[in-house]
């Protein structure tokens, strides 16, 4: 197992290099001139433009720019944006917000999704099963943007239960955006759990567990759930990475100063260093959580061994 993890971690290096180069190239290929845009309506003096272009290596070919970027990166220098702000500072400031949002979203997704799925799965075609089916279909088919505004309007404005903007109220500020961010995955987790539980309820070993005279609770919790949750854990684990990166819309609508907003702003301003730094970090998170899932897989299912 240890060797497997080490090998997987080593494999992240080429993936990170490849991913960061692709992102770098995409930012490079964006139309428009980022330096000229800095001046707004009034054009910058040619001398200033030349100085900035030189400072940010903008006149070098793509490969040279990238090589210089990686060279700095290896010395721990993430570079600066065009206003001279360290990219690392931006990440340090923004990342906790996104992590908080992702944690709240994952909690909603896992707790509500799994409970709903289990209740639906143990009584297939029952009342709760239909409730879960209908509500998850609605949630999945409504775009997250619409969901966000409806949530803000109903729970924020009409009922006044939750703040709808900013992070002024600590964890409580993240309840509504977390729910909105989690909604799609939550519905998916509920459906996945439901199918998996319903299937496992008919498994031969569950029949055996009943024939052993185990209490119903034991049959469900120990013999049905553990096996049913293996695919669910896989999905949720992989989803952590997705949620961290996919929070752009939610952070914008709820005005949360997180990583998603930072990427959005940086792309608009063509801040190559910022975009590449943050997205590469996201890629790393994604790979990391996938590795965690694979390790967890072996813990949950003894048939899976990596050595």
């Amino acid at each position: 197992m240890g060797r497997y993890v080490a090998r997987r971690l080593l494999l992240t290096i080429p993936v990170l290099i490849g991913a960061s180069f692709l992102i770098f190239a995409m930012v490079y290929a964006l139309p428009g001139d980022p330096i000229r845009a800095l001046g707004g309506d009034r054009p910058l003096a040619p001398a200033v433009v030349a100085q900035l272009r030189d400072e940010y290596n903008l006149d070098d070919p793509l490969v040279v720019q990238y090589a210089k970027y990686v060279g700095d990166l290896l010395q721990g220098d993430f570079g600066t944006d065009f206003r001279g702000r360290e990219v690392l500072d931006t990440i340090e400031q923004r990342l906790p917000v996104t992590i908080q949002l992702a944690v709240v979203a994952i909690l909603f997704e896992a707790v509500i999704g799994i409970i709903a799925g289990v209740l639906a799965g143990i009584r297939r075609n029952g009342f709760l099963d239909n409730v879960v089916l209908v509500s998850s279909t609605i949630v999945v088919s409504v775009p997250i943007l619409v969901l966000a505004f409806v949530a803000q309007f109903v729970f924020g404005l009409q009922l006044g239960w939750f703040p709808i903007s900013g992070i002024g109220e600590g964890w409580y500020s993240f309840v509504l955006p977390g729910l909105v961010l989690a909604a799609g995955s939550l519905a998916y987790v509920a459906r996945l759990t439901r199918t998996s539980v319903a299937e496992n309820m008919r498994a031969d070993y569950v029949r055996t567990a009943k024939a052993k005279g185990l209490p119903r609770r034991t049959v469900i919790v120990r013999h049905t759930l553990r096996n049913s949750l293996i695919p669910v854990v896989t999905f949720i684990g992989a989803d952590i990475g997705t949620l961290m990166g996919g929070a752009i819309v939610t952070e914008s609508v709820f005005n949360l100063p997180g990583i998603g907003r930072a990427i959005f702003d940086a792309v608009r301003a063509q801040e190559g260093a910022v975009v590449v730094g943050i997205v590469t970090l996201m890629v790393f998170f994604f790979i990391f959580f996938n590795l965690v899932v694979d390790v967890l897989y072996a813990v949950l299912d003894p048939r899976i061994r990596y050595d």
Binding site: R207, T208, G213, P215, T218, N227
Partner: protein, 350 residues
């Protein structure tokens, strides 16, 4: 519906004791969207201590469903027990609460299944799964339960039990896995063990070992054994009595020696002729013509009549014994032998 006479003790193997389990006119149906499937239609039998009763029949004859009804592990819905009784230790299990029924499973009646790989939970060690019996029914600690699990694995002759107790089902061979199932089933010294096709998934040599083990355990504990199978060879070797099922009914019953030597029902006769025999080497196998009955539309009269070579229809039949209209009851034909055929005497040749 004529009920078989249960007041008379049935033929039992020499040295067997009193009745431990009695199934009385059991009816089970499956209510599906496409209609009602009549899986078990009035099955009655008794099992004595130390007796091995084989229930023989082809797929869909209701043999497994009736066993699952006894265990209380039918999927309800779609299955519904629509009538009858299952008497165990003086109580009708069907009248008991779910909780009381649960307490019988394990210490009273237990069951082993055909495919041990899918019947064991893949994510728990075999020691844990055997030990669960003691933890759930005896309130034993995890540690003590594991100790007992090792003893049981020894008892079912799993080599190196102490070292293998923490292994998972997929790490065992097919025969060893079935031994694990058996260890689990006998953990609490049940009075009745139901073995549903216990050797079907195993190699022939391993089959014999597993059957020997079951017989040895039965000798030690005196439990009654219900052996559900379609394997005539296994029945011949290990069973005392046999009940042949067709379309959810018992069509013939008697001691194995009698039934095998001289069947009283055309279906049993057909089964015997369809199996390769060493003595009849080079001869032709005679399959039973036609298809097993559709349980959603069981033929009228004798359910076997469309496939029966001895059927008598219309004017050829004795009045009241028309095979396509009159359902033959399970009746005593000669001492110790019952059959559900209007013309059993002719089949027997008595």
């Amino acid at each position: 519906m004529t009920r078989p006479d249960l007041s008379q003790p049935r033929a039992a193997a020499p040295g067997t004791g009193g009745t431990v389990l009695e199934v009385d006119d059991l009816h089970v149906e499956f209510r599906t969207r496409s209609g009602v499937v009549n899986a078990v239609n009035g099955v009655s039998y008794r099992l004595a201590e130390r007796e091995t009763l084989a229930i023989l029949g082809e797929s869909g004859s209701g043999k497994s469903v009736s066993a699952q009804a006894i265990m209380g592990i039918l999927d309800t819905p779609p299955a519904v027990i629509t009538g009858g009784g299952i008497w165990f230790e003086g109580r009708d299990l069907l009248q008991q609460s779910e909780e009381e029924q649960r307490k019988v499973r394990g210490p009273g009646i237990s069951m082993i299944f055909q495919d041990a790989l899918s019947s064991l939970n893949p994510v728990y060690s075999v020691g844990y799964q055997i030990g669960e019996m003691f933890r759930a029914h005896r309130g034993m600690s995890k540690k003590d339960a594991k100790k007992r699990a090792v003893e049981l694995m020894d008892r079912v002759r799993i080599p190196g039990a102490g070292a293998r107790v923490n292994d998972y089902p997929h790490q065992f061979s097919g025969g060893m896995r079935q031994r694990v199932m058996i260890a689990m089933a006998i953990a609490l010294d049940p009075r009745v063990l139901i073995a549903d096709e216990p050797t079907t998934a195993l190699d022939v040599t391993v089959q014999a070992q597993v059957m020997d083990l079951l017989k040895d355990l039965q000798r030690e504990t005196g439990m009654g054994l219900i052996l559900i199978t379609h394997d005539l060879g296994v029945v011949n070797e290990v069973a005392d009595n046999v009940a042949v099922m067709y379309a959810g009914r018992i069509v013939e019953r008697g001691t194995v020696d009698d039934v095998f030597a001289n069947p009283a029902h055309p279906y049993t006769d057909g089964l015997m002729s369809s199996v390769p025999q060493v003595e009849a080497k080079g001869g032709r196998l005679l399959p039973i013509a036609g298809q097993p009955p559709n349980l959603a539309a069981i033929p009228s009269g004798c359910p076997f009549h469309p496939r029966c070579s001895r059927r008598r229809l219309g004017a050829a039949a004795t009045p009241g014994r028309e095979c396509a209209t009159d359902l033959p009851p399970l009746r005593l034909v000669v001492p110790g032998r019952e059959a559900a055929c209007h013309y059993s005497e002719e089949v027997l040749g008595v």
